[in-house]
């Protein structure tokens, strides 16, 4: 069986890993790097809870092989706050608007929401709803998620 030397750049830190080629970016983060903030909800690209940023764009870590992510800048929920620990404005807005209940989809929602604003897809509530529809929330905190993102978009 092949073992791959994979160098991952996660949240600005370089990690050298020896991986089974089958390892997804999601499993590399969770099981090899202990970065369990990125959640597993389906492993099929149907829920959005594993959303991370790859080279600045939101993607689903469950459908990316870790080997394919080598050399790309990966950002996870753990890398979102400022160096001094100050939460990212989107994290603060989610707290302020009660945009979460069980919290399981929340890291994915927030990573997606940060991109949603950066992409310029947060100009209206309906646009936010559409561009956040790749992140399922079974608790259905949707109205508060929209309010949180709209708040951050207005401030941006």
């Amino acid at each position: 069986m092949q073992t791959l030397d994979v160098t991952l750049d996660v949240n600005g830190r370089t990690h050298s890993l020896q991986l089974d080629p089958r390892t997804t970016l999601l499993d590399a983060l969770r099981e090899h790097l202990g970065l369990t903030g990125t959640k597993v909800g389906c492993n099929h690209g149907t829920c959005g809870s594993c959303t991370v940023h790859v080279d600045g764009r939101r993607q689903l870590a469950c459908l990316v092989l870790a080997a394919s992510a080598a050399g790309r800048a990966v950002r996870t929920i753990e890398g979102l706050a400022a160096a001094d620990g100050t939460p990212h404005p989107m994290q603060a807005a989610f707290v302020a608007h009660d945009a979460l209940q069980c919290g399981y989809c929340t890291p994915g929602q927030i990573m997606s929401a940060v991109s949603c604003v950066e992409e310029g897809h947060a100009r209206t509530d309906d646009e936010i709803r559409e561009y956040m529809s790749g992140n399922l929330c079974r608790c259905a905190a949707y109205p508060n998620i929209v309010a949180a993102i709209a708040d951050v978009a207005r401030a941006a």
């Binding site: 369990t36 959640k39 099929h44 939460p87 009660d98 949707y142």
Partner: protein, 737 residues
């Protein structure tokens, strides 16, 4: 006081959840952990005649393969939760060669890595002796089994139906549905010197502890169930799922921690689900809208391996004043995994049909649906003539109608059209959920540094318990919010209650309340008397000093009390059983009839050509007794309402009747609402404490939000289109007429 009852305190667990720090079951590291993967049955009923594991056992990294042939350990007797035990089902896979339902676990592969376990699990070859099977209650060979104990007769409904001038007689169906929390079922188990540590998403850590202790024949204290956060429960994580037992066993045999994350597709069969229902509702009224007869007969899907019934008609029977009431319940056994609790298990499906029928009656009478409901508001429980502990349904409808703008409604179907040509429909429905409670304990430590720690093994599924429990303590002790800490979801803490049936705040909240009172009394004793006001001890002479000063004078530097609360109707013996991890609930029907109520409204927009439906907005006004935290309660109720919208328009586990198996077993096929499906959601909670229910005056919030919404939306769809759809989900093909 910034953290007491009634304040919209920010969710205490939110910072950890937005940072990724909050640890869910699959997030806990276990040193040297092995990984498990499941194989499930491809047939729905029959026997395994051959199971070849040789190839899987030879595969790279594989440590163990468990099948019914290798699972030969003596296990303690544990039973189905609805028979007084803790298991999701009375059948434990791998204990026999029998297959009872499609997707049943037939082997478990343990390997060094996740990738190895998954790959090897595909290499197991199985031959079955397949028998005919039926997974649908509509299959021709299925028979309804009446549950006579659930029958209610008041007056003579059949006679009244025969002579009343206006009657409705219609049948409504709802499909099987699955919880599909975003957090997958997952279990990690590790044995350390004969003690079992389990990380599993659980709505009932004490029950899980008790059940696993029984199964493995060890003292309950030797089982530690840790689960501070649950990534969505909705009833699916209330009982012990069989794979948790299997993982714990594999860990014991291997002498190594084992972790299983259940794949999404297996989630449909390794746990429970909301069973399908069929309701026949007959209503009769005088021409002025006075209801003269209510008849509701419900049949629910059950399983051949376990009898399961979610009787809703004992609730619907009590909705309207009627001199004649007749309800019946029955079940239909099918070859499926055991159904279970799913958010408002009985009420959500049952109220769909019942409240649609009320709308049909309003149409037949030419009467406004809100006016019809209000006209027939019962002063007392119409079945048992009990007084309501509180019932503000009429106020809910009045306020809801005002918030919604109900008066703009023109009754004729299709008579309201939006600027873009969309057909507008307005609909409403009643929601109701029984308010029960059970015994719970809590521990509070109040220290000289001002920190107040509230500890109990209750659960926060996103419901707000972390926040609410702290507020209840803060209310009594006057502790500022930033000094309150709350610990939940750990079986080593004083016994909290199962997170099910909307009982947590009423039960565990009451325990926190009485414990806080005990801490207060101890503090005042230490201070030599006086009163505790906003964190200050006020002496009879009027002098004030901070409570922390008194605490600093205690030798330990803190005061700690452990308290217990139980509802009056629960005996001491029942309480002891409940605190140990057994099921112990009061009934909603005791000295009073105690229920949460709600009035729910929906506006739908229907594309006039394509006939697609969108929920434009929803309004819910609720009477849930005292609201400890309006912020978390509102989110919970809004979430329930969105579940209702999902129920009405999207959710269905398709059953392939030919193969007796669930068909759409992934999140691309099993639809629930996305963000884009939901418009405005307005929630209001009426003021009012119900201290006849419990000392803190709460009635339960978690489930009622969903209850009336499916019917409100179906009624709105009728109003928009003139098409009466008597099934859920209401899909585009139902409206292409």
């Amino acid at each position: 006081m910034d953290g007491g009852i009634g304040l919209p305190v920010t969710r205490r667990d939110a910072p950890g959840k937005v940072s990724g720090d909050a640890q869910y079951a699959a997030d806990f590291p276990h040193a040297g952990c092995a990984y498990a993967a499941l194989t499930t049955s491809s047939i729905a009923r029959g026997r395994i005649v051959r199971i070849d594991t040789a190839q899987a056992e030879r595969a790279a990294g594989v440590q163990m393969v468990l099948t019914h042939r290798s699972l030969n350990e003596g296990l303690g007797e544990e039973t189905f939760a609805m028979k007084g035990g803790h298991m999701q089902s009375s059948f434990l896979p791998l204990t026999s060669d029998e297959v009872h339902y499609a997707g049943q676990i037939v082997s478990l592969v343990i390997a060094d890595t996740q990738e190895q376990a998954e790959a090897a699990s595909r290499l197991i070859a199985i031959d079955y002796d397949a028998q005919p099977a039926s997974a649908s209650m509509d299959d021709g060979d299925r028979v309804e089994k009446p549950l006579e104990s659930k029958s209610i007769d008041v007056g003579n409904a059949n006679a009244a139906l025969a002579i009343s001038p206006v009657t409705i007689d219609a049948t409504y169906v709802t499909p099987a549905q699955h919880h599909n929390p975003i957090e997958l079922y997952a279990t990690s188990a590790e044995w350390r010197e004969g003690r079992l540590l389990v990380h599993v998403p659980s709505q009932w850590v004490m029950g899980t502890r008790m059940g696993l202790a029984t199964i493995f024949g060890i003292p309950a204290e030797d089982v530690h169930v840790e689960c501070p956060y649950v990534g969505g429960g909705f009833g699916g994580k209330a009982t012990i799922l069989p794979h948790t037992v299997l993982i714990a066993m594999a860990a014991r045999r291997l002498g190594r921690a084992v972790k299983l994350v259940v794949p999404r597709e297996a989630m449909f069969t390794v746990g429970s689900f909301r069973p399908a229902t069929r309701s026949r509702v007959r209503l009769a009224a005088e021409r002025d809208g006075t209801i003269t007869a209510v008849s509701h007969e419900q049949a629910g899907q059950s399983a051949t391996i376990d009898h399961v019934s979610f009787a809703v008609t004992e609730v619907t029977a009590r909705m309207y004043a009627s001199p004649n009431i007749r309800v019946r319940e029955s079940t239909v056994a099918t070859d499926v995994n055991t159904p279970g609790f799913q958010r408002a298990p009985a009420e959500a499906p049952g109220f769909f049909g019942f409240e649609c029928a009320v709308d049909e009656l309003a149409v037949a009478l030419g009467m406004d649906p809100v006016a019809l409901r209000t006209k027939n508001e019962p002063a007392r429980d119409p079945v048992g003539n009990l007084a309501w502990s509180s019932r503000k349904l009429t106020e809910c409808f009045a306020r809801g109608a005002e918030l919604f703008g109900w008066s703009r409604r023109t009754p004729e179907p299709g008579s309201m059209v939006a600027e873009d040509g969309a057909l507008i429909g307005y609909g409403c429905a009643t929601a109701c959920y029984p308010s029960a409670s059970g015994p719970s304990a809590a521990r509070i430590r109040y220290s000289a540094d001002g920190v107040c720690i509230v500890s109990l093994s209750a659960h926060d599924l996103g419901t707000g318990a972390y926040t609410v429990m702290g507020q209840i303590a803060a209310e009594v002790l006057g502790v500022p919010n930033h000094l309150v800490r709350v610990q939940l979801g750990d079986s080593t803490l004083p016994s909290g209650i199962i997170a099910g049936g909307s009982v947590t705040t009423s039960s565990s909240g009451s325990a926190v309340h009485v414990t806080a009172l005990a801490v207060r009394d101890a503090l005042l004793r230490a201070a030599g008397g006086g009163e505790l006001v906003d964190g200050f001890v006020v002496s009879p002479d009027g002098s004030r000093r901070p409570a922390t000063e008194v605490l600093a004078e205690c030798t330990s530097g803190f005061i700690e009390e452990t308290g217990v609360w139980k509802p009056d109707s629960i005996s001491d013996k029942q309480m002891q059983n409940g605190l140990a991890g057994g099921m112990a609930f009061s009934s909603a029907l005791g000295k009073y009839a105690t229920y949460s109520f709600g009035a729910q409204f929906a506006e739908v927009r229907v594309d006039p050509l394509l006939r697609t439906v969108r929920v434009h907005r929803m309004v819910g006004v609720f009477d849930c007794g005292r609201i400890i935290n309006p912020r978390t309660a509102r989110s919970n109720l809004a979430g329930g309402m969105i579940w209702g919208a999902s129920f009405a328009l999207l959710e269905e586990t398709q059953i392939d009747r030919k193969r007796a198996r669930f068909a759409n077993t992934d999140l691309a096929g099993y639809h629930f609402s996305t963000n884009a499906d939901i418009g405005e959601v307005v929630v209001e909670m009426l003021d009012g404490s119900d201290t006849l229910a419990n000392p803190i005056g709460t009635k339960g919030v978690g489930e009622i939000g969903i209850v009336g919404m499916p019917a409100a939306i179906a009624n709105a769809v009728y109003h928009a289109t003139g098409v009466r759809v008597r099934k859920t989900p209401i899909q585009v093909e139902d409206l292409l007429v």
